[in-house]
């Protein structure tokens, strides 16, 4: 069945079964491999994307869920994501890097919702994303830094 998806402002028409999770449509059918597989059961956040601005674990939502909605992935760009990228860069955050797509998407959602998050806000927003390398300290610092970078620019 043909389904049309809008990802990062670009339109893709795919022929897949309705119940295929978005993660696999995005990775295997469309070929955007920045969104990662980690657990398949909404436990690790590696597959995080935004759907109409809402943080979503793409491993656990079927493709049908995203029809006529706007999907945002790590291949995309937004004001908050760019500040976060800069802050990730400043703080030399990643180790293996694998979970960082999901971390950055979750952090983008946090900044989209909360202008200046506290440590507690960050704990709450980011605890759905596992980093096995253990870069949490740096991620937290980088989120605060992104806010500083943003405020400096304005």
């Amino acid at each position: 069945m043909n389904t049309t998806l809008s990802i990062n402002g670009k339109s893709y028409t795919v022929d897949v079964q309705d119940d295929m999770p978005l993660l696999w449509v995005i990775r295997d059918i469309i070929g955007l491999t920045g969104t990662k597989f980690g657990c398949g059961v909404s436990q690790c956040g590696a597959c995080s994307i935004l759907i109409n601005g809402a943080l979503t674990k793409s491993c656990s939502k079927p493709v049908s869920y995203a029809v006529e909605k706007e999907i945002f992935t790590i291949e995309g760009s937004s004001e908050n994501l760019e500040y976060l990228r800069e802050a990730w860069n400043d703080g030399n955050v990643p180790q293996c890097g694998y979970c960082q797509s999901g971390q950055l998407i979750a952090a983008t959602f946090l900044l989209d919702e909360t202008e200046n998050p506290s440590d507690e806000d960050i704990d709450k927003a980011m605890s759905g994303n596992i980093c096995r390398c253990g870069t949490y300290t740096r991620i937290k610092k980088a989120i605060h830094k992104a806010v500083v970078l943003k405020n400096e620019t304005i």
Binding site: V16, W24, T35, W88, N89, Y98
Partner: protein, 736 residues
């Protein structure tokens, strides 16, 4: 040991697939004598490479796998420093798996330790050639030239020429002799010992780094494999009628177990493979298989019973391990103050964020593989053995690794992919589900230790008896290896830093019913846990502050392994301990319900001491602060080392608090991150890392040494807060 040479252009292109041109340098590293030594057959066989192109770009071929430890950046920084290069012109390419690169096995925290000097020499050689070229151009003495930030400067006139513009001329310069290479003084380092950002940051933050699971080959298929829940069980029969109906599923194939020959390789477990045109269909098809298994001889394996069995064994006399000193029985008899304790660690899985996966294309007379492997050469040799293809026709393209931690040293997933590609005559990517990863790992061994110690009237340790039972890694290569091996006991059991006159170590039987492997810091996890918890118990029995007690126990400055290239110095051990005590304000008054604990350990030639502050409320433990000091000799990239140790603190917390693989009727009970839990952001403490300034000592391990100290420091802190001794990991199942 590492002669730098110029490479013939044609060879370079042929061998390494890099564009020709520019200055091509290689050198041969065979210093890691214990391991692989490249064949030298009269011709030059370099295994480290650097290329300086006409546009000024410098390309380094990284021979070690990148799995988050920052090796690509560290290696590049050494060359760039000696070469006086501008960091922005440095690019790192990943080498394929091939013996021509020397030992590529990325484990044992050894890459920097073995590669730093050759990397520096290559950088220095290239710089000398560029200087010679500039001197010739200006018709001045080489001594009147110097390299600075990607230019050669004329000291007399301040004229300068860009590196790239000197490349043509420099290639005509005779390569300087090894004796003439002058390395920089430590105080002149620009990158080494400083903070450099990862060369891969941009890719990591844009989702453009290619991990194994991201590899896409035209016409490739995707595969998932149902493996027997019990280790080494096999397929009796199966019904695939439902699986075949799943949209996207194309083929179902039975895969027999590939048994490794004794003493080497990993083989593959076998099972039933579902081939599909996308990953999800393969996963779904696998769930729909109805398989009857022959569970085999491991069906009766229950990990809880096994731990009880090991406990009984360490409570009886074991096999004496060489290195016995004095007479512990006499020491115990003479003491009015003896204590004993039993410590337990469960089986653990690595659970890297990127599950095991590999893409393979069996082409009849050749094999191409793309995979996240820590040890591409073993993978390659294994494929040559099992598939009878000449080594030269096998290419292992090493992708980024989404975490390794030892799991990706074992290339069973590569063997699976090749076996399937051979059967379906097409390229195929095998992807493990997270459940596959948790249920079919090469597990970190469980262990039980019994310790008994005696104290003199003034609180000196007079006797130390330690009995250890842990299934050996060797059992994965040689069946019936039922005792921990010498190399395993050498990881912290036979070589603790303590001064004890009467010392006895015994080894108890521990058979294997699962595949046993190595996990970040390996047997040091057991020795670091037992040693540090027990010393804390002795300190308490002696009524002496634990830091002071550790210092007393280590005793005089001395060298423990005198013959080693990296002598084990008790002085350096005490220095990190004192430093950690200082940065953690050891001894200060803590808030109510808070406690602090300390642990120290020597591993991979590095010295680490960690203090942990916990708070305990209503039986819930929260880790508040972790302070770690490392002495790793020359600190090549300080921020990367900090990052590694911060990560080790979190990794160690996961082991201490949550990590447990258990089996019932031979099958692993855990499934995914909901029951094999990891430390998360909300659990993460404040982490403080200090690196000792030891720039004149050789560099030693960084990736692993931060792990073994964390669990014991947490347990000691909980005791300090509550008076409860916790001796069994993980702590989540314990009442605090």
């Amino acid at each position: 040991m590492s002669k730098v040479q110029q490479i013939n252009r044609r060879d370079f292109v042929k061998l390494f697939g890099l564009a020709s041109g520019g200055i091509l340098l290689g050198c041969n590293v065979s210093s890691d004598k214990k391991e692989f030594i490249p064949q030298v057959d009269g011709t030059f066989t370099p295994n480290l490479f650097v290329q300086i192109q006409k546009d000024g770009n410098i390309i380094l071929l990284a021979s070690r796998s990148e799995m988050g430890q920052g090796i690509r950046t560290s290696l590049a920084s050494a060359i760039a420093d000696e070469l006086e290069a501008d960091w922005k012109y440095i690019t790192v390419k990943q080498a394929t798996g091939n013996a021509k690169y020397g030992n590529q096995n990325t484990d044992g925290s050894r890459s920097v330790r073995t590669l730093l000097e050759p990397m520096r020499k290559m950088g220095a050689t290239a710089k000398m050639m560029l200087i010679a070229a500039a001197a010739k151009k200006w018709n001045i003495a080489e001594a009147d030239c110097k390299a600075e930030n990607h230019f050669i400067l004329n000291k007399n006139t301040n004229d300068k020429i860009f590196f790239g513009d000197l490349v043509d001329e420099a290639t005509k310069i005779k390569i300087p002799s090894e004796e003439s290479i002058k390395l920089k003084k430590n105080e002149d380092f620009k990158y080494i010992g400083k903070t450099l950002k990862s060369v891969d940051l941009k890719d990591f933050t844009h989702g453009t780094a290619t991990y194994g699971i991201d590899v896409r080959i035209p016409n490739m298929k995707f595969a998932a494999i149902a493996r027997c829940p019990v280790t080494f069980g096999s397929v009796k029969s199966f019904d695939d009628s439902s699986a075949r109906k799943v949209a996207g599923v194309e083929k179902i194939i039975q895969l027999d177990r590939i048994v490794p020959p004794i003493g080497q390789f990993f083989g593959a477990l076998g099972g039933v493979a579902v081939i599909a045109n996308n990953t999800w269909s393969a996963f779904q098809g696998k769930l729909d298989l109805d398989i009857e298994w022959d569970y085999g001889e491991n069906e009766s394996f229950n990990s809880e019973e096994f731990q009880d069995k090991l406990t009984k064994r360490v409570h009886a006399k074991g096999k004496l391990v060489p290195g016995n000193r004095g007479n512990v029985s006499a020491a115990f008899n003479d003491s009015k103050n003896t204590i004993e304790a039993t410590y337990k660690v469960p089986f653990l899985a690595h659970a890297p964020m990127e599950v095991p996966n590999a893409t393979a294309w069996f082409k009849g007379d050749a094999i191409d593989v793309w995979a996240p492997v820590q040890d591409p050469q073993t993978a390659r040799a294994e494929l040559a053995h099992f598939f009878q293809i000449p080594l030269d026709n096998i290419t292992i393209n090493v992708t980024f690794l989404g975490g390794g931690f030892g799991r990706k040293s074992k290339s069973d997933f590569v063997v699976e992919a090749v076996a399937l590609s051979k059967k379906i005559k097409a390229p195929v990517q095998v992807v493990w589900t997270r459940e596959d990863d948790i249920k079919h790992s090469f597990y970190h061994a469980t262990s039980v230790q019994y310790l008994k110690g005696s104290l003199s009237d003034v609180g000196k340790v007079t006797g130390w008896l330690q009995r250890v039972a842990l299934p050996s890694i060797v059992s994965s290569f040689k069946p019936m290896s039922d005792y921990a091996s010498g190399f395993e006991l050498g990881q912290g059991f036979t070589n603790n830093p303590y001064t004890i006159d009467n010392f006895r170590l015994e080894n108890a039987k521990a058979e294997s019913n699962m595949r046993i492997g190595w996990l970040r810091s390996v047997v040091h996890i057991h020795s670091g846990f037992g040693n540090n918890c027990f010393v804390d118990e002795l300190a308490n029995a002696a009524k002496i502050d634990p830091v002071q007690f550790h210092l007393n126990l280590i005793g005089e400055d001395r060298i423990i392994q005198g013959k080693s290239e990296y002598p084990y110095s008790t002085k350096r051990m005490k220095e990190v301990l004192k430093n950690t005590a200082k940065i953690s304000s050891w001894g200060k008054e803590l808030p109510e319900n808070h406690g602090i604990g300390i642990a120290l350990h020597y591993s991979f030639y590095s010295y680490v001491a960690t203090a942990v502050e916990v708070s305990v409320k209503n039986g819930n433990v929260k880790i508040e602060n972790i302070w770690t000091t490392i002495d790793c000799g020359l600190a090549l990239n300080k921020d990367n080392i900090k990052n590694q140790l911060e990560g080790a603190a979190i990794f160690g917390m996961s082991i201490a608090l949550y990590g447990e693989i258990s089996t019932k009727n031979g099958a692993v009970e855990q499934n995914n991150f909901f029951d094999y839990r990891m430390t998360r952001m909300k659990d993460a403490p404040k982490i403080h890392i200090d690196i000792m300034d030891k720039m004149h000592e050789p560099p030693t391990g960084v990736g692993e040494p931060g792990v073994p100290v964390v669990a014991p420091a947490i347990c000691n802190a909980i005791f300090n807060a509550t008076g409860n001794r916790l001796r069994t990991l993980p702590l989540i199942s314990m009442k605090v």
